[in-house]
Symmetry: C2
Subunit: 417 residues, 2 copies
C-alpha cells in the first residue's frame, strides 16, 4: 500500500487520513459560489520507483500508487486495465501518425467512472461505512451500483429523472436504490449532499470525495505504462465536473515529479457548447467558472451548470499548459459513427466529444498533425443508442429468399458503393 | 503460428488450408436437412506444450494455438483477454464455493462473437478477400462490423429486421452494410449464403466458416489459463446455433488431449424453451435436431429454428459427458437483475440464461453444490435494455431541494428496507 495524506488544493494544508473528511474545513464554503472550494488531494508519501508493468492488469495491480490499505478491499470486478489502441485507420484519416484511444468503454459498467467507484467503495469498506451515496448524470451512479453489487455494499444514487433509459435500467439491475430527481444534475448533487449529512451515508459525490479523483488517476498510470513512459504531446479529455480531467492530469503530474515519465502531456479538455463553463473560464483566464443555468447537451454525461471541481481542474489544466475547446451538438453526434467506423470503438456522445475536440484543435491550428495524442474514450455508445442513431439513415428491409437475392443483385452497386 | 489442416467432423477426411473451402465437399448437402453436414474442424498439427500465461492478454497472445500466419493479420482491437470473476456474493447465494463468471461482455463490441469475427477477418485478410458477409441474430453482425471498422475491411451483415435496436444502431455506427431481412434469422442465414455464392464474398456464417468455432475456442484457452489448468466440473454455455458451445468444448478437448489441463469439463448447454432444438435432440438421443418453426424467445441471440452446427455441437457435448437444459422466459428475465445485483455483471437475456440454467440444474439435482462451475456470460445487458427492464419496478421521481430531502427522511425506511 501507498502511505498518503490529504492536502487542500487551495491552502495546501495537510490532513491525516480521516473517514469523515471530505473538503478542507477552512476553505470549503457551505454556500456562495457553487463550485467546490477546498477539494482535497491525495498526496502519496512513498512514491514508487518505477511504472507499473504493461499491458496493465486491473486496478489491483496499481496498489503501490493507490491509497488503499489492503488489496482485498477492492471489489472483485476487474476495473481498469483497458486497452490503449493504436487506431491505424483513424491515424490515416487524420494524417497523424501517433493517435491512440484509451478505450475505457471496456470497464465493467462500460465507463471510466468505475475507476472512481472502485476506490471509493474500497475506502468505505475500510472505514466501516455501510451505505454509499452519489449524485450522477448516470455513469457514476451506474458504476457505483455495479461495484456495490460485486462487493455487497449498498448504493444510493441520485440521478436526473431524464437520464438515458439504458443507464437507469443498468443501475437498477445492479440493485441500487435510485432517487430519480425531477431536476438537473446540479440539484441531484445538492440533494445527495444533504441526504449524506442527514443519514450519515458515505458521500461519493465527485470531487467532494477525494478518492474519486484518485481512482480516475489510474487511467493516467495505465497510459504511462502502456507507452513505456514515452508520453504523448496531448491527452484529450471530455469534461463535465472536471474530475476525470483532474485525475488524469494529477496522475501525469505525479509521475513526472517522480521522474517516471518523459514529460507531462498537455491536457486538452472538450465540452459541449451547451455546457461549457470550464472552457469559458479558461478563455477568460478566470479562477472561478460562471455557472451556465439550463446547461444542456446530447452529451448528457457532461451536462453540468456549475462544474464542481472547476477550481482544481483549471489549475491542473493550466499547470500542464493545457487548453479547452467547446464543440457543437452536430460535431458531437457526427463523431460517434466517425469514431466507430474508423476504430471499432463505439462511444457515447460524451466520449465521442474527444474526437470532435481533436478535429477542431487541428482545424484551429492548436494541435499540429505531428503531435502525438491520446483520446480518452470515457463511456460506451450502448449507454445511449438513441443519440448514436440520430445521424444514421433508416435501415431498409428486404425480403428473404430469391426475391431478396434478386433485389441484392439489382442493388449491388448501391450496397457496396 | 500453429500449423493446421481442416478435418471433416462427419467423415474425418483431412483437407489442406483452402480459402474457398467451407464445408466438407463430400458430406455437405445443398438441400435436405437444415442443419449443416460436414462442418470442418481446424486441426492444430504442432500443439503447444504449455498453457498461455494468465491473466491472459488479448487473442494476439494465443498465436501458438491459432491457425493464423501472422499476428499482424489480427485487427487492432484487443479482442478477448476478458476477466474470470470469482463472484463471492453469487457463491454465497448459491451456497457453492466454486463459481466463476467468464465475463465476455467486456469484448470490444460487448459479446463473445468478437472472438470469432477477429479470426475470420484475419483469415479474409490473408486470403485477399475484400468483403466479409455474415448472417446474425445481432451480436455476430455487430462483432464483424466492429472488427472490420478497425481493420479497414468491408462487412455486409444480414440480420432479422426485428433485432434489438441497440444492436442495429451499434453495427450501423461501425459502418457495416446492413441487409435487414424481413424474416427469421434462419432466412437471413440462407440469404447470406446465397449472396456469398453470387458475389464471391467471404462467408463468415457461423459454423459454415471453420474459423468461427476456432475463434470462440479462445474463451476456453483463457479459462484454462486463468484456472492454471485446474478445470471446473462444468462449464455452462448458452446455446443457439451451437458454435460457442463447440468452440469451448473443442478448446477443452484439445487441451486435455495435449495434456495441458487436469480434465475435460462437462458442458451444460442452456436454451430458452421457445428455441430449444438442441436440448430436445439431447433428450431424445438424436444425432439430428428437429427444427422448431417459429422459434422465439426474449433471448434473441439464441433464437434459431434449426441450429446450424447441431451435429458437431451434439457430438462435442456428449463427448464431454455434457447435458442440456431449457429455461422459461420468466427464468431468463429474472436472471438478469439477479446476476447483475449479485456480481456487478449486466448480461443480455441470452447471457443471463447461463445462470437460469445453473439454478435449474441444481434444483433438478443434475449439479451438486459441491461442483465447480464456470458460467459463460456471452453478451452485455446494454445490448437490450428493454428486456432487462421488463421485471424492474417503475422508478418514482422526487423533487429536488428541501422538499425532496423531507420526502427522503419520511421514506428512509422504505428506501433502504
Amino acid at each position: 500500500m501507498a502511505r498518503f495524506q490529504l492536502k487542500c488544493t487551495e491552502c495546501h494544508q495537510n490532513f491525516p487520513e480521516n473517514p469523515d473528511l471530505l473538503l478542507c474545513p477552512g476553505c470549503s464554503r457551505e454556500s456562495g459560489h457553487p463550485s467546490l472550494y477546498g477539494v482535497l488531494e491525495i498526496e502519496i508519501l512513498d512514491p514508487p520507483s518505477r511504472l507499473p508493468a504493461a499491458p496493465p492488469a486491473d486496478s489491483g495491480s496499481l496498489m503501490a500508487f493507490l491509497p488503499i490499505s489492503d488489496p482485498s478491499s477492492l471489489a472483485p470486478l476487474a476495473v481498469g486495465g483497458t486497452p490503449l489502441l493504436p487506431v491505424p485507420r483513424l491515424r490515416e484519416k487524420m494524417q497523424m501518425s501517433r493517435i491512440w484511444l484509451k478505450d475505457d468503454t471496456r470497464n465493467p459498467s462500460a465507463s471510466t467512472k468505475d475507476r472512481a467507484s472502485l476506490l471509493v467503495a474500497a475506502k468505505a469498506l475500510e472505514y466501516g461505512k455501510k451505505i454509499i451515496a452519489t449524485a450522477s448524470t448516470g455513469n457514476a451512479a451506474t458504476a457505483l451500483s455495479a461495484i456495490c453489487a460485486a462487493s455487497g455494499q449498498q448504493a444510493v444514487v441520485f440521478v436526473p429523472a431524464a437520464a438515458p433509459p439504458a443507464k437507469l435500467i443498468q443501475m437498477q439491475s445492479y440493485g441500487a436504490r435510485i432517487i430519480a430527481v425531477d431536476g438537473s444534475y446540479d440539484e441531484a448533487f445538492e440533494l445527495c449532499n444533504a441526504a449524506c449529512r442527514e443519514f450519515g451515508w458515505y458521500n461519493r459525490n465527485t470531487a467532494m470525495n477525494p478518492f474519486t479523483t484518485e481512482g480516475k488517476k489510474t487511467a493516467a498510470l495505465e497510459i504511462a505504462a502502456q507507452l513505456s513512459g514515452e508520453m504523448p504531446d496531448f491527452v484529450v479529455v471530455p469534461a463535465g465536473d472536471g474530475v476525470i480531467t483532474s485525475g488524469i492530469a494529477k496522475g501525469f503530474a505525479e509521475l513526472e515529479s517522480w521522474g517516471l515519465i518523459s514529460k507531462n502531456p498537455r491536457i486538452l479538455i472538450v465540452q459541449p457548447e451547451g455546457s461549457s463553463a470550464l472552457i469559458r473560464a479558461l478563455e477568460d483566464e478566470n479562477e472561478d467558472i460562471r455557472p451556465q443555468p439550463g446547461a444542456t447537451s446530447v452529451a448528457d454525461s457532461l451536462v453540468v451548470e456549475a462544474p464542481r471541481n472547476s477550481r482544481w481542474a483549471l489549475k491542473l489544466i493550466r499547470g500542464s499548459r493545457g487548453i479547452g475547446l467547446s464543440v457543437s451538438e452536430e460535431e458531437i453526434l457526427h463523431s460517434i459513427p466517425k469514431l466507430a467506423s474508423l476504430t471499432g470503438v463505439f462511444a457515447e456522445p460524451a466520449a465521442a466529444t474527444a474526437l470532435a475536440g481533436l478535429e477542431k484543435a487541428i482545424r484551429l491550428g492548436i494541435l499540429s498533425r505531428e503531435n502525438s495524442v491520446v483520446l480518452m474514450v470515457t463511456g460506451s455508445g450502448l449507454k445511449d443508442v438513441a443519440a448514436a442513431g440520430k445521424t444514421l439513415p433508416e435501415i431498409e428491409k428486404i425480403a428473404p429468399g430469391q426475391e431478396g437475392l434478386d433485389r441484392l443483385v439489382r442493388d449491388s452497386i448501391r450496397i457496396l458503393g
